[in-house]
Each structure stands twice: as structure tokens, then as C-alpha cells.
Symmetry: C2
Subunit: 178 residues, 2 copies
DNA sequence: CTTTACGTTCAAAACGTTTTGAACGCAGGG
DNA sequence: CCCTGCGTTCAAAACGTTTTGAACGTAAAG
């Protein structure tokens, strides 16, 4: 194999490993995904283990994660007993999966906690000493800002997650702030 | 202090700690930020250490990180030798800082690596066996998709980071995809 | 029924990151 | 000058996460 192809493969796999870490996945997940993405043919667990020089066990576990995140899928190769995997090549779909399950849940938890705090503070207002009341008002101000932030995040996530499959990157490039 | 105030304080600090982890900072950073955010008066390192029940050394290091990210600033309290800190309460500013330095750098590195790969593949094209040429074309397709993704990310980041201070969360709520 | 080829599991090990706490440096006050 | 009070530093410890590899389960092939 020509060295340029190897070099490109390696830097892409390394880059996706780096990206994976950056967004909170394990580096191996990113490297597995990259390896699959750059292979026209599906790969078996053994091939992945050999390719990345990691243990079979690690491949097994990380591939399961990739499947759960919708980043890879099993494909059946006729006449083979092995499991074969392909990368989900539709990046937009991958992003929707991740934002939709992981990030949105986080934002919703935050909004619920903040809402509860507001409720609690308003309910307690009567029973507070004057000095405590002042602090409570201060809390409410800070919390209101946090709520704005998370509501913004929620909106942004919904915009991306709720978009149709048809939406491609070119189209999304036209985001505007109005 | 009324228990409702304590409860709100605790859940907010815990939530910000959680958020900090989620976005790749240490949990303590988030908790320190939260503690400062909910205190009308600036706090000293000792007070922070006592409050969060962590060591002085940890407070010192984590507060330096918070300062570097523009999430807290030192304030001078007259007549005091201690260092006092306040949270940067403008969340929008905090977000611009983080997105602008950390995330944008990451995206730019990725785009550079991908660009180099394209250059390398096109330069090598002539010297490749027919079979290798096919693989090179496959790589170029995959890389093109990755580039689209990162260009989208770059655009989105620029939109947020480049926005004026005046831009508040309400305004940003009107993001549209055109 | 036995062998073989595979995937999965999980306890132990390896690893990276964060915290601790003692040692240190420095400045201001006495 | 020497305390004292404070912040910083960094090596060691604690901690959480990921990887390994051997043991195991399973199903197809012989």
C-alpha cells in the first residue's frame, strides 16, 4: 500500500480518536469509527483488533458502544460466522443521535433542577428573615440567567436534532441570528 | 440560614459541577464557579476551601484555571491581604471565551489535517496502482464529508463567538436555519 | 458428540487525572 | 530581622476510567 494512503489513514484515525476524547467518548471509539469509515469493506472484530493493535475485549466493548450511539452497524457477510461492522457514514445522523440522547437529556435535567429551585425559593419566601429574602432574590437572579442559557441550548439542540434527514451540511451553513 | 437557601445552593453548585465535567472541565472548577456565582460578596481561597471541603492547594490550582478561562476574576478588598474572587456573572462572555479558545482551536486543527490529507492524496494520485487509486477516491469522499462537518462547526462557532456583547440570550433564541 | 472458531465478560492491571498536604516563598507587621 | 499569614508548588496518594487477557458461553462444522 502506498505510503500516502497509510499516512492519510493514520492521521484521520488519530484525528477522530482525538475528537472522540474531546466530545467525551473514549479515544478507542473514535479510532474504531475512523478505521471503519475509511474501509470500503466491513471489518471483523479480529481485523479491527489487529489494525489498531488493541485487545479483542476492548474492541468488543467499544464496538458495542458505537452501536448504541448509532455510529456503526453490524452487517452480515454471507458464508461468514464472524461479526462484521460498518461505520454509519451519514455524519449528520450520528450527530443527531448523540445530541438527541446525550446532550438533550443533560439540558433537560438542568432545566428541571433550576425550575425546582425557583419553586422552592418562592415557596419559602414568606418564612424568610429580611436578610435571607435579599439573598433569595439574588439567587433568583442568578438562576434566571442560568435558565436563559439552558433554554438557549435547548433551542439550539432542538433545531439541529429536529431537522429532517434531507438537511445537509451545505444548507445548515446558512444559520442566522435574527 | 433557611434550609431552602441551602438546598438551592447545594443543587446549583452540584449541577454546575456536573456541567463542568460534561463539557470537559474538572468538577471542582464547576463547583467553585457555582459557589462564587451564588455569593453576593467575593470569597477568599480559604473560604472556598472551607465551603467545598477541599484542600487549599486544589482551590488555588482550580481558581487559576477559572481565571484563565475568564470565568472568575480577582477583586481587591481594601484592608485585606487575602485574594478575593468573584464569578464572571456574564454567562455569554464565559461561553464566548471557552468556545473561542478551546473549541475553535480544535476545529481549526481538524480542518488543517483534513486539508493536508487532500493535498497528499491528490499529489500521490499519479503514482498509484489502479486499485490504490480507487481507495484514494474513497478516502477523498469520506474526507470531504468530514470537512463539511467541521466547516459547519466552524461557522456555528464563529456565529456565537463573533457576536457582540450586546447580544443577549433572548435574541439568540431566534436562530433559524435557512 | 467433539472440536473449533468466535464473541463476551469481568477481575485485575495499567493508565491518566485530580487531590492532598507538606514544604516553600514572599510580603507586611511588629 | 524575625514572625505570621497567606498563596503556590509538586511529589505522592487517591481516584476513576479504560484496557487487558484468561475464562467462559455458544453455535456451527466435522
Amino acid at each position: 500500500m502506498h505510503e500516502s494512503l497509510d499516512a492519510v489513514n493514520e492521521s484521520t484515525v488519530a484525528g477522530l480518536g482525538r475528537l472522540a476524547r474531546f466530545v467525551g467518548f473514549s479515544e478507542v471509539m473514535g479510532r474504531l469509527y475512523g478505521t471503519l469509515l475509511l474501509n470500503p469493506e466491513p471489518l471483523s472484530l479480529d481485523e479491527l483488533a489487529t489494525n489498531l493493535e488493541i485487545s479483542k475485549g476492548s474492541v468488543s466493548m467499544n464496538m458495542r458502544s458505537l452501536e448504541r450511539w448509532g455510529m456503526a452497524k453490524e452487517v452480515w457477510v454471507r458464508g461468514e460466522r464472524k461479526k462484521y461492522y460498518m461505520a454509519e457514514a451519514d455524519l449528520w445522523k450520528v450527530i443527531r443521535n448523540v445530541l438527541g440522547s446525550r446532550e438533550q437529556r443533560e439540558v433537560q435535567v438542568a432545566l428541571r433542577v433550576l425550575g425546582d429551585s425557583v419553586t422552592k425559593l418562592k415557596a419559602a419566601e414568606m418564612q424568610l428573615e429580611p436578610e435571607e429574602q435579599e439573598l433569595a432574590r439574588y439567587y433568583l437572579e442568578r438562576i434566571a440567567e442560568l435558565q436563559s442559557f439552558f433554554q438557549f441550548a435547548q433551542m439550539a439542540l432542538e433545531t439541529v436534532v429536529g431537522s429532517q434527514e434531507a438537511l445537509d451540511f451545505e444548507a445548515v451553513t446558512k444559520i442566522e441570528i435574527g
